[in-house]
Amino acid sequence: MHKESELRPPLILGDKTWHDITEDVCRPVESKANKWWWLAFSVSSAALLWWVISVSYTLGTGLGVWGLNKTVGWAWDITNFVWWVGIGHAGTLISAILLLFRQKWRLSINRSAEAMTIFAVICAATFIVSHMGRPWVGYWPLPLANQFGSLWVNFNSPLVWDVFAISTYFSVSLVFWYTGLIPDFAVIRDRAKTKMSKRIYTILSFGWVGSAKNWQRFEEVSLVLAGLSTPLVLSVHSVVSMDFATSVIPGWHTTIFPPYFVAGAIFSGFAMVQTLLIIVRKVLNLEDYITIYHIDMMNRIILITGSIVGVAYITEFFIAWYSGVEYEQYAFINRATGPYWWAYWSMMTCNVITPQLFWSSKLRENVFATFIISIFVNVGMWFERFVIIVTSLHRDYIPSSWAMYHPTWVEAGIYIGSIGLFFTCFLIFARVFPVIAMSELKTIIKSSSEGEKKKAAKHSNKSESHA
């Protein structure tokens, strides 16, 4: 068995056995929801209802019900799309990249982070659908033979790359997540009390039995999927950034965009993981599994990616001046001092200054402070996309066409509604699915749980005193 230093903090608190993990993870699935869950569920489904109304109104009447105009032709729709896709990135980073680096602390958080990825990409997709205005012709970006003769999609276009990137990312994330869920569904299946739940979890678990060959293949599949997902996740936000970077709009036409967007995506994704998990660990009594150490580790990632994002903002500004291009220079001066200065400085405060507070280990290990800062980061990253998109567009080359963008209630409804959609999905997930990858977590109990570490320490003390 792999031995681990006693100095490393335990990843599972208390003296847990394998059976305790099963009990603790299955409890939310097997018990009835409390009134707090129902309250949260009602609020988020009410928001979801607002989404349905706003999207129906948009599709029924036309995109004119949004606040877009001739100058600002892309605003909240694409802001929210990029924001949601970015949030999704943390889940893949945790489950794929941390798997390749053999970081054991991923095991308590990967399942819920991957669920977050999937729901976030669904939310992003709703903006693609609604901003088309006519979603019934949504198949146009697909490479299909069509009624216009041999007119194919243009594979030189980043928007076509995006179609491939997002759909691959969504479907591969879903498959990765589901493969990990199969053994855990089998655990719930074997414990099911009623005929109905036995039936449901038998179907969901695909008849899984943990034979040696199955586990051997399972581990290989997980490893290869992690290896495939790692470049995939880095490519997705790079491609999203190229939607902007390959254009000729000052403020968008920036070669720094791909790495800058990827860092920002991981930054915002981890902030969302923190926001969700701080609530989940409390509500579902999982504080022994999602420990302060886990929160600290995620805060370190927020600190480093936040710093990368900060450096990117400053580099962008410097290069705009250094380029000597007047239009480029004006785009950036206008960002910081023009009519949208408040958006720019909200972004700078939330994304550059607040994460720097995490240099203090006291704040990193403080649950309340982490929660507040994670909200700041979520807000800041939303403003980042808004600033990049709207401030670059609203004052274009001819001053006579300069305009301001004002969102309407419909756009607000779609945005808040998408948050409702996200939380509705997540709340259902927390009651029906095992929120911790228990089968995988059981593999580290002997090396990394508090109880086993204490036993090992006692043992080594004894052998020292004998010597």
Binding site: H2, T17, W18, H19, T22, P143, S150, L151, W152, V153, N154, F155, N156, P158, V160, W161, F164, A165, T168, S171, V175, F176, T179, P183, A186, V187, R189, D190, R191, T202, I203, L204, S205, F206, G207, W208, V209, G210, S211, A212, K213, N214, W215, Q216, R217, F218, E219, E220, V221, V224, L225, L228, S229, P231, L232, S235, S439, E440, K442, T443
Partner: protein, 176 residues
Amino acid sequence: MSASPKKFVYGIFNDDEVVLNAIGSLRKKGLKVKDVISPFPIHGLDHELGLDRTRISICAFIYGMTGMSLALLMIWYMNIFDWPMDIGGKPSYAFYKNLPAFIPVTFESTVLCAAHGMVITFLLRSKLLPGVEPNVIHPRMADDHFVMAIQIKDDSEIANVEAQLKSAGAVEFINK
């Protein structure tokens, strides 16, 4: 399938290291250890049981290469052969000149085919599909118990096998 169904004695263990160490010692005594069912992957179990290395990653590579070739073929046909377009004074007349712009879609298609092909192969090879009825030998075999399957010829062997399993650390026996 053979005419007479195979008979097994199942030894139930409650520790991963005990079950791992038991395989070698029981085999030395002539027992046919066929499989170990565990609630989580045990490191080194496949080696101890003498299983072949899984070739599923080779499959993934082949699926990935297929995905890449299909994507390149599709892009070449649509944008170069069938309907070349002149965009911004940069005509798509030669495949190799446009290749850099075709990399993203080619890459995504490679990953798409590799990932889905591999997972579908995994599910089919392991006979995992919705509706498959699992063979649950012990109610806690997915929770915290380990099941070792020993193949026997006839019922006369049961007593001996159980005694051997007990000495190797098994806590319970089931024979079907």
